[in-house]
């Protein structure tokens, strides 16, 4: 294969593999090489907590052959870490010295966990930041001799890891600096039902406090010291304090970097034949137009697919994504948070409804004609329709009552 025509994709997770699949759909003959620094073949990253809980095996998480991913004629190089990119010569250099030319290249290197430097001892054995299948394997191994674990950070990823450990019968304490869990996804008052569900499930939660240091001995971690002077004895620590984009390999390449790689509406970077997608890329929020970065499988797939089409010669504008777009279930409580959800001290029209089983908050702009955000807890029926209304900025005047009462269905939107 002539390298001038070949597609090279740096990163073998959601954005990279979605792009590879999209290119393959458009161009049956093109050479596609995916370079992944991980030792495992591409897999569904959101499933790795199930390896920790023991509910799934690694082979059940393989990407190729599942869902829309055929893996057909896509060369995947594992343990292939790219260390430099030569945009003029159109080639990438790997850590082992190998070089690979490209016709078009996609940077989909994703992100890595952020380890706060103010916490001492994060390099102690038994301290994890669950990101890769390899992390999950080590965590599962350590869990065998763990009676108590401390989770630092109250985000979704850490909650999922916490539940995986709870399922194994491990006592789990969640230490959250914010006043409530999931503070990135909703206001504290919105999280009440979720908090109750977490309490019922047996998760111990300490809010408003942060870890100062992790204490270890010859067996690895043995305690976590908090800023209020408390010390919690434990055999495992899991850090979920957000992520940072993997952009170091682009130093000196001429690729423009902001908070992450800067991509235009057609997912292209500032150098010829270079594209970016996924966690590593800066994108824009459709309601406000503000630049944002997200770390979400669903967003990464959508942008990666878009990049794949652009690379294969089908110009496709990326419509951007909500900074917040999450659906999941923690304990027995399903919830969805999307769009503008932090409304404390903001001049917006807000409708709340709370019962013992369900809570919803619907956020409209100041003139009340557009839905800009929604938090649904307990009853998430038809959440996709709300997402559609927010994203398309539809005038919702005629269906506002149905939205506020959570009775909206697609029939209301039909021109009948």
């Amino acid at each position: 294969m002539d390298s001038a025509e070949a597609y090279v994709i740096v990163g073998g997770s959601a954005a990279g593999m979605a792009a590879a699949q999209a290119i393959r759909e458009r161009d049956p003959a093109a050479g596609i090489t995916v370079l992944s620094e991980e030792a495992d073949a591409p897999y569904f990253r959101p499933l790795i907590p199930y390896l920790v809980s023991g509910r799934k095996q690694a082979r059940e998480m393989t990407l190729a052959g599942s869902g829309p991913y055929t893996g057909r004629d896509i060369q995947v190089w594992t343990e292939a870490r790219v260390t430099a990119v030569d945009c003029k010569g159109q080639r990438v250099t790997l850590a082992d010295g190998r070089q690979l030319g490209y016709g078009k290249v996609l940077f989909a290197t994703g992100s890595r966990p952020f380890l706060p430097p103010e916490i001492k001892g994060t390099d102690t054995e038994g301290v994890f930041a669950l990101r890769t299948l390899a992390d999950a394997r080590r965590m599962a191994k350590r869990a065998e001799a763990t009676r108590r674990a401390v989770m630092l950070g109250g985000g979704l990823l850490n909650l999922k890891a916490a539940f995986a450990l709870l399922e194994r019968g491990i006592r789990v304490t969640l230490v959250v600096f914010s006043p409530e869990v999931l503070s990135q996804l909703m206001d504290p008052s919105d999280a009440l039902l979720i908090r109750h569900a977490l309490d019922r499930a047996g998760l111990e939660i300490r809010t408003g406090t942060a870890a100062r240091q992790i204490v270890g001995d010859e067996s690895g971690v043995c305690a976590v010291g908090l800023d209020n002077g408390d010390e919690i004895a434990c055999q495992m620590v899991c850090i979920g304090k957000g992520v940072r984009p993997n952009v170091d390999f682009l130093a000196g390449s001429g690729i423009r970097i902001g908070e992450g790689i800067v991509a235009d509406r057609f997912t292209a970077c500032n150098q010829p034949n270079t594209f970016a997608a996924g966690d590593v890329a800066v994108t824009h929020e459709p309601v406000s137009g503000r630049p944002i970065m997200t770390a979400l499988w669903t967003n990464a797939v959508e942008m990666g697919r878009c990049a794949g089409f652009n690379m294969a010669g089908l110009p496709t504008a990326y419509t951007g994504t909500f900074g917040i777009l999450n659906a999941t279930q923690v304990a027995d409580m399903p919830f969805v948070a999307m769009g503008t959800v932090h409304t404390e001290g903001v001049d917006l029209e807000i409708h709340r409804h709370a019962s013992a089983e369900a809570y919803r908050k619907l956020v409209f702009d100041t003139d009340g004609k557009h839905l800009v955000g929604a938090v649904l807890v307990g009853d998430i029926t038809n959440a996709g329709i709300y997402r559609y209304l927010i994203r398309e900025k539809r005038d919702i005047t005629t269906v506002k009552r149905q939205i506020v009462n959570h009775q909206l269905h697609y029939g209301h939107l039909l021109p009948i």
């Binding site: 979605a18 599942s66 869902g67 959508e302 969805v336 996709g384 997402r387 697609y410």
Partner: protein, 168 residues
Amino acid sequence: MTQPKEIFVLTDRCVGCRTCTIACAVAHSTSKTLFGAVAETPRPKSRIYVEWAAPAHKVPMVCRHCEDAPCMHACISGAIRRTDDGVVITDTDKCIGCWTCVMVCPYGMIGRDLERHKAYRCDRCPDRDIPACVAACPTGALVYQTVPAYAADVRRHASGEMVKGKGS
């Protein structure tokens, strides 16, 4: 691949009797009979919905098996795929009940089975020649046809109307 058939919905023919929803639930029950289905636990679930829109519209709705299905690409566990017949299906074994598909379906056509903690949706009745909802509809509001055949029917009907309009 031969042209697959789709379920077309004629909203002006629907009278809102919900026979389709019962037929769907029965077709997806263990016993496959109405009397058996009502006694089953968990209760068999319909994948087709009939909603009411003011002032007097009844709107049957069922998964469109979208061409670029948002649910399939959004799924974080690889549980949603398209069969060779063009039908988008949810693999219940792979589904982890994260409800991402529910969040992205712009039609609201994915149900949540709370007892099994799994998402469910129309599977176009793979073991039947005609989907149960279509077969059961007493007013012809649901039509199971290929796109070219359906379009030909519409053309034929329209041309008949045009000829009548000319009075010839």
